[in-house]
């Protein structure tokens, strides 16, 4: 070989060799698999970025909340850690909530607890939270006009461990506990009640102006993510864990709080919360054994045996949620059709939820026929909803349409009998209207794409043309807002943003946001005065029947297209990790995790 060739080839070989030498130091897959630590995979493309238990809606998503709840326990913690959604007193600061017989107030008893700096947790710490929220409710993520804190008229301290909250009217105690009092986080007033980093701790929160300043100070401090592990502000905690490190790229390390005196003692000293760019990247980490508690997608269930052989158990994690496709009742071209109950019944009867759940979701979804989650047994579910009021039958769906003035022309139903008679198309539906609708559906999921194609196929058998347009979930939400017929944004007809479930409920599944007239998340502008009354009754009545009545009415009235509810996550858990049930409220609770041995 000539010198020139030798030089050229040597260059290439040296480069490749250097790469190999640099790289050949093992695969770096380091599962914790030790009793002292655990590697937990955060959802793909999620970066934890907030620990303060109060903040704006942009910050308080469920994973951030899970982290902050590990640092500052809630007054009343609800979770599904025992297999059923209920008040978990071991993870709560309060030990009792005694409602007045008239349902207009509640007296809370605090446990004999201390902050990590040794100071007692008192009613003043609850009052501090209350004052901050009252003065800054517009910015608070949990605020809904008319609800807490609007409907809490006062908080009166009885003594250090007892206080009373009074309401504007009588409420269902279960609803008040599970959906409103659950938001309260006792906060360390003795450390946080200041208007700036240099100001002294005072009672600033007791004036509205002061409370606003304290809120601003705390929220600004919380924007400094790199300070979470160092800033003394975040060292005064009540929960089972403290922040050991908090990386801006997403990795969070929690260390057991040695001063914790609550009921949910941490079982693992170090919890590593790992960020992943995609589900595929997370799956690769699982395969290499560097994750102890991770997840796979429904389409990967055929690889279950492979994970089992690697020492993992695949555990579906069902959510306390419902999945649906809202109709836009104000859409200029199809709104009038959607307002006809028979038309909505025909659509619902054309959707074969059993087959979708079994085939498309690989058995990782449960059919849902109404506004109450059906993945878990509960007292809220009415027999009407449970028994599916509109079973799948495209022939029955077709008959419904033809009996109401629709005729199939070229495979699509066309209104040939306009009018408001019982055998006519209904109010506002013009002659010649074609039954064709378009969904703006969440992109990025094979399962969702397959489900939409299956729905398209079955609707076609009924004579309903269904077209599918896709966009990222944020775009779907942005492009399908509440609207009036005259607005250009009101061109959407159906919306789907439920690949991981459309709506996760708090413990008490009411429909005030979803299905009440002008409800904040009633995207399609559904309105039914009878349903409004039932929703109001469900939050104020002391009878459990009220929720069941609401469940039955909404299941029958079809404000949306009901769809199967997918599991929140298909977890892959290292053998030996146990001591907990996966929380259907979609939160994780590191203190409940234990290495139990294999």
């Amino acid at each position: 070989m000539s010198p020139a060739r030798t030089t050229l080839v040597a260059g290439a070989v040296v480069t490749a060799g250097a790469l190999l030498l640099a790289g050949c130091s093992g695969t770096g897959g380091t599962s914790s698999a030790s009793p002292d630590s655990i590697n937990y995979a955060l959802p793909a493309n999620f970066t934890p970025n907030w620990i303060l238990p109060i903040g704006t809606a942009a910050h308080l998503n469920t994973n951030n909340s899970s982290i902050s709840d590990s640092l500052w326990e809630r007054l009343v913690a609800y979770d599904g850690s025992t297999g059923k959604v209920a008040w978990n007193k071991k993870a709560s600061i309060a030990t009792a909530a005694d409602f007045a017989s008239d349902g207009k107030s509640v007296k809370i008893t605090l446990g004999d607890r201390t902050w990590s700096d040794g100071k007692p947790i008192t009613s003043r710490d609850v009052e501090f939270w209350f004052n901050l929220i009252k003065a800054n409710k517009e910015e608070w993520a949990g605020y809904n006009p008319g609800k807490a804190p609007d409907n809490w008229t006062s908080l009166k301290t009885v003594d250090d461990r007892h206080f009373t909250i009074t309401f504007d009217k009588a409420y269902n105690s279960q609803w008040m506990l599970a959906n409103e009092l659950v938001d309260i986080h006792p906060l360390p007033q003795h450390a946080w009640d200041r208007t700036s980093a240099t100001a002294a701790v005072s009672d600033a929160d007791r004036t509205a102006a002061g409370a606003k300043q304290v809120w601003t100070y705390l929220n600004n401090a919380a924007k400094n993510i790199s300070g979470y592990a160092k800033d003394s502000l975040w060292k005064t905690i009540s929960g089972p864990y403290s922040v050991k490190s908090f990386s801006t790229s997403g990795k969070v390390v929690l260390a057991a709080n040695t001063k914790y005196d609550g009921g949910e003692k941490p079982g693992i000293a170090t919890v590593n919360l790992l960020p992943f760019t995609t589900a595929d990247a997370e799956k690769n980490a699982l395969r290499s054994g560097s994750v102890d508690y991770g997840y796979i997608e429904a389409t990967d269930l055929d690889q279950k045996d492979r994970f089992t052989a690697q020492g993992y158990t695949v555990k579906p994690w069902s959510g306390w949620a419902i999945t649906y496709m809202p109709y836009n009742f104000n859409n200029p071209s199809m709104g009038a059709v959607f307002k006809q109950l028979y038309a909505r019944q025909a659509v619902q009867k054309s959707i074969d939820q059993d087959t979708l759940a079994k085939v498309i979701f690989n058995g990782t979804a449960v059919p849902g026929y109404g506004p109450i989650p059906q993945g878990q047994s509960s007292d809220f579910l009415s027999p009407t909803q449970k028994n599916n009021p509109y079973p799948f039958s495209t022939s029955a769906a077709k008959a419904l349409l033809t009996s109401h003035g629709w005729t199939e022309q070229g495979g699509v139903m066309v209104c040939t009998g306009p009018g408001t008679g019982s055998e006519q198309c209904g109010a506002g539906v013009a002659k010649g209207t074609k039954f064709q609708m378009q969904v703006l559906s969440q992109s990025g999921s094979t399962v969702t794409d397959n489900m939409m194609s299956a729905i398209q196929s079955s609707l076609e058998k009924t004579g309903i043309k269904f077209t599918i347009k896709t966009a990222p979930v944020n775009s779907v939400l942005s492009q399908t807002p509440q609207c009036t017929a005259g607005q250009s944004i009101c061109s959407w007809q159906l919306s789907f943003f439920g690949t991981a479930g459309s709506w996760y409920f708090p413990a008490f599944p009411t429909g005030d946001s979803l299905f009440q007239t002008k409800g904040g998340s009633n995207f399609g502008n559904y309105s039914n005065p009878d349903v409004d009354k039932l929703i109001t009754a469900s939050t104020t009545s002391t009878s459990a029947q009220a929720v069941q009545d609401y469940s039955a009415a909404v299941a029958k009235d079809l404000p949306v297209i009901w769809l199967p509810e997918p599991d929140y996550q298909i977890s892959v858990v290292k053998d030996g990790l146990g001591g907990f049930a996966q929380d259907s409220l979609a939160n994780f609770h590191p203190a409940q995790w234990k290495w139990t041995g294999q």
Partner: protein, 319 residues
Amino acid sequence: MATFLYLIRRVLQAVVVILIVTVAIFCLLHALPGGPARGILGPQATAQQIAEFNREQSLDKPLPVQYFVYLRTLLHGDLGTSYTLNESVAQLIGQRLPKTLVLTVLSALVGLVLAVPLGMWQAVRRNKPVDYAVTTLSFVAYSTPVYFLGLILVLVFNHILPWFPAQAPQGDSLGQVFADPAGLVLPVAAGAASVVAVFSRYMRAATLENLSEDYVRTARAGGSRQGAILRRHVFRNSLTPVVAMLGYYVPVLFGGALVIEQLFNYPGMGLLFWSAAQSSDYPVLLGCVLVISIATVVGTLIADVVQRIVDPRVKAGEV
């Protein structure tokens, strides 16, 4: 002096180009229906929270006003704050850009170190079986999507042969990134493959062209050996088109990084851009576009300047 004036002219052109890019991206982003509030705050956000978000982010103001507010803050060195990541865009880019640069620069370097000798080697063996074989491999590598190539690399070198990790280094600092060289192998290999494929072709063509030049024939006639001719004469002259193309290749490298970062769980700027696009995080999108525009403009500028230095004919205006 001429080079200095040339530089000044090119820098001014670059500023105008970047300004036009920001206007175009700003208008396109805001033309998206619905706005970002509902998407970012989620389905459970109330109308009040959406209004508050729009007010906080000045999204309730007319578009020209929003643009001039953005431009004014930009001139003060403030790229805004991410809607979703709770950090200033400058901080985010400051954290992520070095990681992306490590990936792209390493990919480009490894790719070039392999491509340049490979291209020359092929030229010397023009139309021989090895030339055809390498050409075929180059076309395969060039036409294989980075994502697919990355998956193949993970499958072979992690799942089947557990030699390298499937994840890129997870540290925040560059020190931590370089402390895990094994983690860089597969992502860099995925990024370098297309560089090798493309630049070996350029190098082969340029070398062939130079080998047929009169000065090579003269050198041969003077008794110079093939190796000496290649090293002393052909190598430098053949580099000219490669250097020029490298500047234009900057956006391609960033595009490749976007895919590689996702696949290898490497949170760099490509991934930041992708996530921001998914969530309509306007400040981050604008910040990333600005950085990529600057990188592209600077890349081409450097390529032009280097070309003037490497090839005197450019300076003289002969080519």
